[in-house]
Amino acid sequence: MDNQSPPPTPASLVQTKAINCPACGAPITLRALGSSVMVACPSCRTQLDVSRPQIRVIQKFKEAAASFELTLGSRGTLRGKTYEVIGAMRRFDGGYPWEEFLLFNPYIGFRWLLLDQGHWSLAVTVKDISSIHTSYAGIQYKGRDYRKFHAGRAEVGAVIGEFYWRVKKGDKAATTDFVSPPWMLSQEKTRDELTWSLLQYIDAEEIAQAFKIGVPERDGVAPHQPNSAAEALRSIKIPMLLTLALALAIQLGTIIRAHGQHIPLGSYTPSTDRSHEVVLGPVHLDARRSLNELTAYSAVNNGWVELDYALVSKVTGQSYEFGNGFEFYSGRDSDGAWTEGANSASVLLTSLPRGDYDLVVQTDWGNASGADPQAPIYLSLTHDVVPWRNFWLATAAMLLYPLVLAVRTWVFDRKRWSESEFNPYPKKE
């Protein structure tokens, strides 16, 4: 970004001065006189040394003036501070270009705005380089870990306006970028100097509003672009953990309260008269409203059982009808012994009111041999069982949105790091 730390700019020392370009005669206003050492004519881009009263041409340009996203002299209020664009340069790394703008405010000093693939960053030179430390993943600065993202070589392609160091087309610097969204630390190394800049990602809309320009088209994900899904995930982390803990507490309360009482209802051998009804009970349900599990078991082999039930209230005479069944087959073939099906079946009965009930059962059956059924059917009821489905459903519902955010976070970060030669994600084949 800059090849030299910016000079201090006490407001009292800052003056402006109008000069004429010795190459084309165009008027040039020096806005940071006393700090600027060079200026590139905005008309012909001839670079002038303005560090001495005698203005000297450093380098002449014959190319047409480059156009930049921000015009020299334009002012904008950014984060409550008004800046003027006093210099602009286009740099590139290989075939990859970006624009850098030097902003100036006489009371604050210099700042940089960078425009890279439609993504804006506000940058400031790091003065306390001693607080940058190397760490396992990259570097650490002011308690924040930055991961290495890119190492390359930046070359100046075009320059206009004034700067506080001598800059010319063709100037090269080795750059290394470390990211910790929305921050990026960028190191620039030349033969003579090592500088660090701290960049903060800024929404293009904010820049557009500040400098009254359009919003450039964004391409891809910037190295330090904030991951909105990750931020959203962070912001709901505490409410999510709290509600999950509450759900667990409610479920624990239910487990403690629930009776889970096992009540054997009796057994009978099915009649050959399939219309025959067996009455079992009475059974007393003492929970106000409860979940109950009725289980039927029989050692039936190579046969099936279908059961129709009516749970009849002894008080009101009203009945609740339901059914279940099971089948079990076994045998032996060339692969050895085999079995299929089960010898029991359960049915969950929800929201049963308190009371005394009789269970009326009608049994249909069949077997491979055609013989009369020999195996008795055993029936039992577990009263007031713990309803786990509600807990899993509520937990899944509470985790759905965080899960979506986690996937979006992962996709976004994967896209970000796909642009890096230090990509921690496995590459697609």
Partner: protein, 48 residues
């Protein structure tokens, strides 16, 4: 993240907790046999 999305999520979590509390208290679970109340039981009622 917008504050609205965060508030909506917290409301949603509140509803999920409400559902859990109420359903557990009622002994209700979804996808189970919900008993339909039939008319008064009569002998041999399966053959009505």
């Amino acid at each position: 993240m917008s504050v609205v999305a965060k508030i909506l999520y917290m409301v949603f979590c509140g509803l999920a907790l409400g559902y859990l509390t109420f359903s557990n208290a009622q002994g209700y679970v979804p996808f189970a046999t919900r008993l339909a109340r039939s008319p008064e039981h009569t002998p041999n009622h399966f053959h009505k």
